[in-house]
Amino acid sequence: MIGRLRVIVALLLLAVSSAMADSPVRFASVDVYIDTTEPMAAWQLEFSAATGVMQIVGVENGDSEAFDGAPYYDRDAVENGRADRIVVADYSLEEQEELPNGRVRVTTLHLMLSGDEAPEFDTRLIVATSHDGVSINAEISIEISEGSTK
């Protein structure tokens, strides 16, 4: 099943700190979660900004040890000046019992935002599969935060 979620984060992103108010750009991170009912061995998602100006500045690994490395992104995200959309994916070669089952953070996307318009993000799960390569039911969700000062 392909899940789809649109999240409007205008209020959050407008609540910038005073130190950042004068900055031409600001940064935010987006935690991406996938919730499955059976072990997941591979996933692929598309993340984009329907409004506002967004650039991907990092793609981080998630919480599952079965997906040890940082996920991959597609070259379309940077080719021909295309910076407002990214396709991210990862896979695991671990045994089934080692694969995540249930809700798990699969990646954190690091973003640089600019312009006055509040971005509106689209997140679309393209596919999630079992270790046999079979598509499985899954839901996708995200949580957005700005980098907080310690």
């Binding site: 750009v25 940064f27 896979y91 690091h110 640089m112 700005e146 980098g147």
Partner: protein, 726 residues
Amino acid sequence: MITISPKWVYRFAAFTLVAGLFAGCAQYSIPDAEPVQEPEPATDSNQGADQRLEEITVTGSREGTWRPANRSSMPGGASMAGFAGESAEGAALPYAGDEEIWVIQKHAATSAVAPTDDPGTGAMVATVDSKEVPLPLQHTGVNAQINGYISTVSVRQEFTNPFDSKIEAVYLFPLPEKAAVSEFLMIIGERKIRGILREKEEAEAIYEAARSQGYRASLMVQHRPNIFEQKVANIEPGKSIDVDIKYFHTLKYNDGWYSFVFPTVVGPRYNPPGHSDPIQAVPRQDTTSQDTAVRYLRPDERSGHDIRIDVSISAGVEIEELRSTHKIVANQADEQSASVQLAAGSTISNRDFVLDFRVAGETMKSDLLTYVDPETQQGYFTMMLYPPEVTDNLERRNMEMVFVIDSSGSMSGTPMAQAKDAMLAALDHLQEGDTFQIIRFSDNASQFGQAPVPATRQNIKRAQRYVANLSGGGGTQMIEGVKAALDFPHDPARLRFVSFLTDGYIGNEAQILGEVQKRIGASRIFSFGVGSSVNRYLMERMAKIGRGAVAYLGPQDSGYEIMDGFFNRISHPALTDVRIDWHGMAVSDVYPSVLPDVFVGRPIVVTGKYLGHASDIRVLGRQGNNDHSVVIENSNDTSSAPQLAKTWARMRIADLADRKTWSAVPYDEIGEEIKATALRYQLMSDYTSFVAVDTSERTEGEYGTTVHQAVPVPDGVRYETTVEKN
């Protein structure tokens, strides 16, 4: 033969949907072979004066060499090398050499710097506010997987802040000149953040914005094809940030030996007055020079930075012998595979690590490797032709030899002595019918004769005295040497060879290469890189433009012996006026665009794109006064994987970068082509950089002081004569 278990094949098929999308950018990790022994990381040293012959710790071999003892099949532990089609599984051994540069001599296999027994080894100290503290770069880990002739290398740089306030670490470091950097990770604890390849200015702007706002960030920029800069921002006191980079490159090949090189230090470069893009050599304490200056440790200082190198080789054919510039521990998995580690206590970081392995080469004289991109159906190929093994049946040609020797300050001492020995060897081999000239340059240039003189006994004796009186001192105005060597008329009755003997410690490479291109005419250029950390980029580009070759003389090498072998080969060319009949194969974007001559020991390698079917390709040329042709064997191997596409892309970028220095095509237009190619194939270049930002948390306070990582001067180089003073 590398094996892939059915499980992996099955899973690979299952994940094609996901992984296939990233055919142009994803690089799958390859597990390391199990080492037979766990060596301690090597430790920096700058004890260049105490040198000794190196010992190689081997398993199942005789002293000084390594030979496989176990003939059984390869253990399954390394079978993942075939995953995603990255290995040359089942392939005949592909050519291992530089596609365009003939390397006729590398550093000798046995030379080393003795480890120090001084207390405190492993703690390079820097004076900051009158305190002695370590520098940020603590460790470099190198893990290389060699499949056939392609090496995939992972490098981890570990930065730690030893100060009591935040810092930005800046480190200027070398990589192989042909390194295609395709992956970049910033690692903070268990968190791994994949960097994004961006246009260079864009990446720098992102990094600066993140740095100024207190976010941890890293940026990797290419300053030369072989010099890179790593910046890591907002490292808090006592905290660490690691950077992982992955690159691949084709190995060099010479006379049956494949050579893996990991350079460790950027050699000091002489920058002529007014040069706009210098890479300065300055003392560690220098705080005024630009970021691209290399900070050097004084001779009595050492770095706590240590290094570990692990190399896993799957040659595809039998490995007959191993050798290295450093003390290594070697182990064989089977006759075609070996794992090698830098031995405990081996010093490394002020000279290049070189690992050579000799392979059985009797059965193959030519080959063709192909790969078809499943998305675009675009084909990529690498074609190779091996030359005859001996010169016995080749005709000697009369020669016009021009020697150009660098007599600047950085050449004083051992490098100058070696260069002199090499020239004396060449003079001994000149024959009646040959002519020669000797040109020296430092701050200026002067020459032995007004024009090339006949190789009479009297002239050779005079030349020997001239050479004996040469000494090192002054700057490196190489441009004067280039002009003097190439500006006089060529004698068409003789093959003209221009031989540069230099460490190449200059910063105006582009200017030099542009002048060489303008003036090259019918000359062939043979570069002799002298010293322990030669400017290989300059040496090899000169040889490429000059359709010649390059040789490297390490501190332990005999200049006389190397020139002796070199001279025999170039005086007996195996094939000149080389061209290729593609036999209906639709070939485009072929590199090199101008094919070099074929000499004994020098293979021809051509890389390009194609459509159609590859068969019955012939290399044509002249051998002596007769036409000659060689049919290229097609191994029908299509398992060489996406590296062939990136190899082609790296070659294209290198060719475009070369053309910038002499082409009539507008500079910006070439730059756009480089940028587009780099982004399309996800490679670092002059126009693209990797940047990674951790936006999850802002660090407190100002972004702190920039700390430049200081490095030792290369082994054999005198700090006093090469590092600029404040």
